[in-house]
Amino acid sequence: MRTSISGPFTRRRTGRRGWVPAPVLTMIPARRGGFWIGGRQGVARYHDGDTEWLEPKATARLLDVKAILEQDDGTLWVSCDGEGLGQVRNGRIRQYLRKDGLGSDFTKSLLLDQDGALWIGTRGGGLNRFKQGRFSVIGMANGLADDTVSQIEDDGVGNLWMSTRRGIIRVSKEELNACADGRRDQVRCLTYGLDDGLNTLTCSSSQQFPGCRTPDGHLVFSMDRGVAEIDPKLARLNSLPPPVEIQNVRIADKLVTDGITAPGALTVGPGPNRLEIEYTGLSFASPDRVRFKHRLEPIDPDWIEVGTDRRAVYNYLPPGRYVFHVTAANNDNVWNPTGAQLDIEVRPYFWQTLWFRLLALASLLAVTGGVVWIQARYKLLRSLEALKLERAVDAERSRIAHDMHDDLGAHLTRIAMLSETARSDLDDRPKTEDSLGRIYEATRSITRAMDEIVWAINPRHDTIESLISYCEKTAQDLLGAAGIACRLDFPLELPDWTPTSEVRHNLFLAYKEALNNAVRHAGATVVSVSLQLTADVCRITIADNGSGIDRDEARGPTDPGRIASGNGLPSMQRRLARIGGACEIESSPGRGCAVRLTVPVEAFQSRNVHGRN
């Protein structure tokens, strides 16, 4: 029995040769001979049937040992499932835990790199690196397939192989170191799983078995269903980026054959068409593992990784120019730096084009302007029309006012004065009787004048029939009172003409004037009145058998047809002129006189003669 030399080791005599703690979880050959044994109670060196135990201290407890590693300088590394990482150097034990930078307190496996870095596999804390007194953690966040690393092997060509709960993974040491040094964020992690011949993804959850490398370089991993042997030479990293090609383009589910006019250029017709782009990445090694990302400028701000999907779909692209980029990565995550691209032009509808919109705007402005102009013009015309009508009404009103003032006012004044005279002359009976008689006459005159005004104003009398009947009655009244025989010649059937108040009134007053002339001046015994209606004119003739127009009263030679003046003739002419007609007088001494009042038919047929003055 030999005793331990020095340091933390004590020889514990068990009383029985070859006692070892049970169960042994791991075991490696020790440089000084014998073996390092790891178990639940700690670490011991077995040598020549004896065991030396690493004595735990208050500052360091090495329990549940899963892996032991001894450096050439004698430094011993112990991974403990729950107690972190132990370092035994020069007789001193030091324990590293999460607080010291470890990814997890549960460490499972160890591997010493040639450059002196120590790789530590943990349960839940990823792969850790201890180098120059500092820990670095590489986990799933950095692209590792799993955070639990059970076994770590170096394939001698620059990769670390690790067994995890998700299969066996391979990562380039260069990338791992770059990641651990903070020079890169992501590592490319290649995972071998069921597709690659494994019958399970889960490694054996127990301890590491070191030196699991065959002489020809195969790596052997312990799995929960046996062992897995890998020939790293066959699993070289695929450094060839897959060529990318755009294959088919479908617009509205129809394959575009001639849409691709130039290489990588496509024109899409107007409308909200569904655009579908199929692309592929060529890889003979592992076509199923080709992954893609694409980007549609200017819509996508960044690349969109779509995995193995070989189709991009855009349901609606507004009119404009686009560039579709697609690129692919091989099974080893090597991206094609150039990829493929397709220039897409979505043509607008004609109404989406700028020129059309400008034109539409211009048309709109033109139409609006036109409508406004027409409305303004219509309004102007209407107000003009209203103004005209108003003026016509005003003219009519002033005419009525004028008539009432002239015809009634004078008579009423006379009545007032006569009444006053009669009152002052009450004692003088003949004078009073005379006054009363004149009042009576004036009153009758007023009534007649009223009758005429009312007849003229009332639109019910806007008929040729009413005009004729009124003329007839007046003739009989005037001539009958004067004892002059009256002869009338009016057609029995009268046309449906509509002389306005103005026409009727002027014509009637002229007619009455002519009758009065015949009664007062001509000394006639018979007056005949006749009406002739032709297609063009309405003519009323008042003829008497009196003395005719006196030479002294006429203004010139008494030629037949000559317009004479005097005896109210100018007033007749004025009245006829107002309604667009004419007054002619035919007379010769001793052969009577004929007054012809001629009015064009238009004055009888239209109600729109208001404006005429």
Partner: protein, 220 residues
Amino acid sequence: VSISVSIIEDDNNVRSILVSWIRGAEGFRFVSEYSNVESALSALPKAPPDVVLVDINLSGQSGITCVRELKPLMPQTQFIVVTVFEDSDHIFDALTAGASGYLLKQVPRSELLASIRQVHEGGAPMSSYIARKVVQWFQRKPPEKEREQAELSTREQEILRLLARGHAYKEIADELGVSIGTINTHIRRIYQKLHVKSRSEAVALFAPFPSEPRPPAPKA
């Protein structure tokens, strides 16, 4: 024998003046006055006067309606319509309704009394315009069965034609070689034919299909 006169007039002043004129006149007897058509319709047929003066423009029912209602009930009574203005259409309507003459309100008292007496004694005033209207009226196609009794005689047509040409009664009498009384009789007969025709037309208007069988009455 004095002429009994009733007055239908809604203007109180006018009515009292007319009443006083009739009352104070020799040979006239004022019997009653009414201010509206309704009271005249109920009272007048019980004691028909010789002459009734009717205002055309009465408030409520018009004087024309009044004449049309009363004339058949009292055929011996002469109706004279009185109006402010000489509105030919209204006057003609009144004549076809049964009136025998018309007067303007502003006529002097003497003229008014003379007209009443003239109408009572069988006179029938007719102006040239009314004559023209009458001619037109009879030229319209009359209903078949009324044709005979409503037809104007040749002499009547001749008188109307002369009237329409403006001849006075005396001129017509000279022209035809008859007395003015005969002319009046002819014209009075023309008025009667006008009434008959007017009535028959009214009947034709309100009962256009008298021969059509009525649908059987529903059983109770």
